[in-house]
């Protein structure tokens, strides 16, 4: 009986080793399938690794995106690339994912340009993203806090007893700091607002954009891979807004939120 725990430990170790080897082998199989023109098979392998075995590392997600794109499913591909970027925004794979995203959008735009109703595949853009999408919310907030402290210190110096001789020199910088502080506060607020956007990717091949949930006739037919802003998801429908400003409802299963 004393040797039973030992056998159990050995068995667990062996099974762990075998599983690790199998996962890596499967990963290699997926890469080979993708390189030999079998994207469907590769997508199945990477999907299995990510969902069944919980191996949702950026490498797997990135290769899954490549396989999905090659298999003619740009929607899930773009969603997977967004997930890679979210996992480690500053990592080297995030940079690769960004490059892949740009390529995928360019390829989709090129294909869409051949049809009568062309869509531009680009990141979701609106006035707020143009205003504050270029800066990280953390950096914008840091700038705002720094300017705020500087402004308050300036005010304190202005109000300090005995600062009468210096007030005329201080007034201008304090006013400028106040204005800069206001602008930085607005920028930080807008940047935070943009960072809270829920961006979704259309994964249905042709998704009808309904003007309201009860409508029968869509206002637009959205192509797969289009990035939209998801305003709310309720009752099996997602209310989305397009970069062009259009708004409507799409079926919840036709959109993936990375």
């Amino acid at each position: 009986m004393r040797v039973a725990p030992l056998f159990l430990l050995l068995g667990l170790a062996a099974s762990t080793t075998a599983r690790a080897g199998t996962l890596e082998d499967r990963f290699r199989e997926g890469v080979d399938a993708l390189r030999t023109g079998r994207p469907e098979e590769a997508a199945g392998v990477f999907r299995e690794l990510a969902t069944r075995y919980g191996l949702d590392a950026p490498e797997v997600l990135l290769d899954l995106a490549v396989a999905e794109f090659e298999a003619g499913r740009p929607g899930p591909a773009i969603a997977a690339l967004h997930r890679v970027i979210r996992r480690d925004p500053r990592g080297p794979l995030a940079e690769t994912a960004r490059i892949n995203l740009s390529r995928a959008r360019a390829l989709l735009s090129e294909e869409a340009g051949k049809g009568p109703k062309a869509f531009v595949f680009s990141p979701y853009t609106d006035a707020w993203t143009l205003l504050a999408g270029w800066i990280s919310p953390r950096i914008a907030l840091g700038i705002f806090v720094g300017l705020w402290w500087a402004f308050l210190l300036g005010l304190a110096a202005f109000r300090w007893p005995g600062s009468g001789a210096w007030r005329r020199f201080l007034a201008g910088p304090v006013v400028a700091l106040g204005i800069a502080c206001l602008l930085a506060g607005g920028l930080a607020w807008a940047s935070d607002r943009v960072s809270r956007y829920t961006v979704g990717v259309i994964i249905g091949s042709r998704t009808a954009l309904l003007p309201d949930p009860a409508a029968l006739e869509p206002t637009l037919v959205l192509p797969e891979g289009l990035e939209v802003r998801v305003l709310e998801v309720r009752g099996g429908l997602a209310r989305v807004r397009l970069s062009s400003g259009g708004e409507g409802y799409v079926p919840e299963q036709s959109i993936e939120i990375p």
Binding site: E24, L34, L55, N100, L107, W149, L155, A156, S205
Partner: protein
Amino acid sequence: MRRTWCLWAILACPVLARAQSVEVTLDPPTITLEDTATLTVILEGSFDDVRGPEMPDLQVVGRSSGTSVTVINGRMSQQQRIVLRIAPQRTGQLTIGPVQLVQRGRVIAESRRLTLRVLPRGSPLPASPPSPAPPAPGNGTPEAAPEEPQADPPRDVGGRSPGREIGRPAFLWVRTLDRPVYLGEPIPVEYLLYVRSDWPLSALSMDSNPSLRGFVAEQAQTDPQQVRRERPGNGPTYDVRTLWKGAVTPLQAGRVVLDPMRVTLTVGDLFSRRRVPIASDPVTLTVLPVPKEGRPADWVEGLVGTFGLRARVDRQALQVGESALLTVEVTGSGNLAALKPPDLRLPDRVRVSRVPSQDLDERVVDQAGVSGRRTFQFLLAPREPGEVEIPRIDLAFFNPVTGKFERARTDPIRLQVTGSGDRPDAVARSHEPRLILVDRFPESPAQDLPVAPSSGIPWGLLGFPVALWVGLEGWAWRRRSLQRDPRAAVRRAALRTALRGLAEARRADLPPAAFWAALETLLRDFLRARLDLPPGLSPTEVARSLAERGVRPPLAAAVQQELEACAFGRFAPSAVQDGDRQAALVRVEQALRELDAARPDRAGGPR
């Protein structure tokens, strides 16, 4: 008549050139059953009649025509161009018979036979060859006259032609169909100004346009400055200007009149200029109602014309969750505006939603009438796997040429719907992925999503200096106010001090005389601190002073009574019981609070 497209009805003007030729081209030579081809017939020269072409397996679904005049070395020639859009009725090699020009009962020119290759629906078409050379012209065609460059060559629809007007220096002529028309049928109308070529016309002004009451009129683009030359009835040569052209649709049956148009011509040179008003004759049209005999139940009121119907889907294999785009296209000439979206009888397991497709519609209004294309698009989203059949789509219309109801229909279309697994139409592409691939196995199997920083820190960083600032400012303000008015601090502290004294008196077990003395002292101290009452006043004087300071009389009387009770208790302690002490404490506390609430330190004094 159905099998032979009689071109003669289209030709109204006599042809001026001597040489005769006929040329027929077909584009493209190979189509599928769901497509249409364009047959272009070019007639040149003088002739009495045109025969053909025989097209037993083809249906004409659209037509247009035009005329161009060419003058080369003083020799004028006229060319008629008729463009037919034809739709096949079956697959295989379909023959288009020759077009013959007839003069005095004799065939003077003939085109060659053409063959249209029709493939089954959905078949891939062969790659387009380089532009084929035009087919050899028919016999009796010595040369092909070059066309006069014209942006929009005028077209001729046939029908009425000027007869008795020929010879006059100028006249207005209404060209339209010379047959009874049907209610709802758009008919071509042209108002033409004929001015003899040798007449010195210098200006033209429109006096009145036709009102066209009783019609729905659609005007086509015209350019009154554009002039073509005609020589009607072998008479003098005329310069012809189109002043108004378009299509009109009669709104009621019976005899309706096309109003006259009035223009004023200015002729002559600077020294002998004169104005000549002219008007067209009113033209009476006979409008017949669409017959009730043989009228199909699904005929839409007003659908008069000649139409062809096509339906196609962009994919025949799809999976659940995807959609196929069904396009139903109606082409032809007639009242296209009366068309309604077809009723698709599809099973419930297919969700159908209409797609806006007005931008795909084409509508041409010219002197040939109204022709074009209406497109209806639907998204079909199957909910279950299996085969879905889009049934035959029917379109019943009234053909004004044959005077009968006819029907255009499509073939059924089948969709193969698979489950949500593999997509059947995945495109096999180059083996090298177009996106960057990573072949490094992940070292750490899974990573958690980065945790967002707590949002409290920024708020703390923002709020702390503000709070510090406010606190320091408040403290400085209080110090300044105390320095300015030291009495103010005493006034504010009066109630707090008095209540503290009351609490001590309640706790301490003082002898009766000391208790009442302490209570009286406490009350008088409060009145001095809060209301600036001088010490040593009798209770009656205290009440009066309070009244003078605006304290309510009942409250002043209550304070007077308490002071008297204190004096009584101080001087006759044995007469006061313990219960009276507790009640006095309560009453004094209430009086103190009421006096403090009167806030005599505020502007306006106590109330």
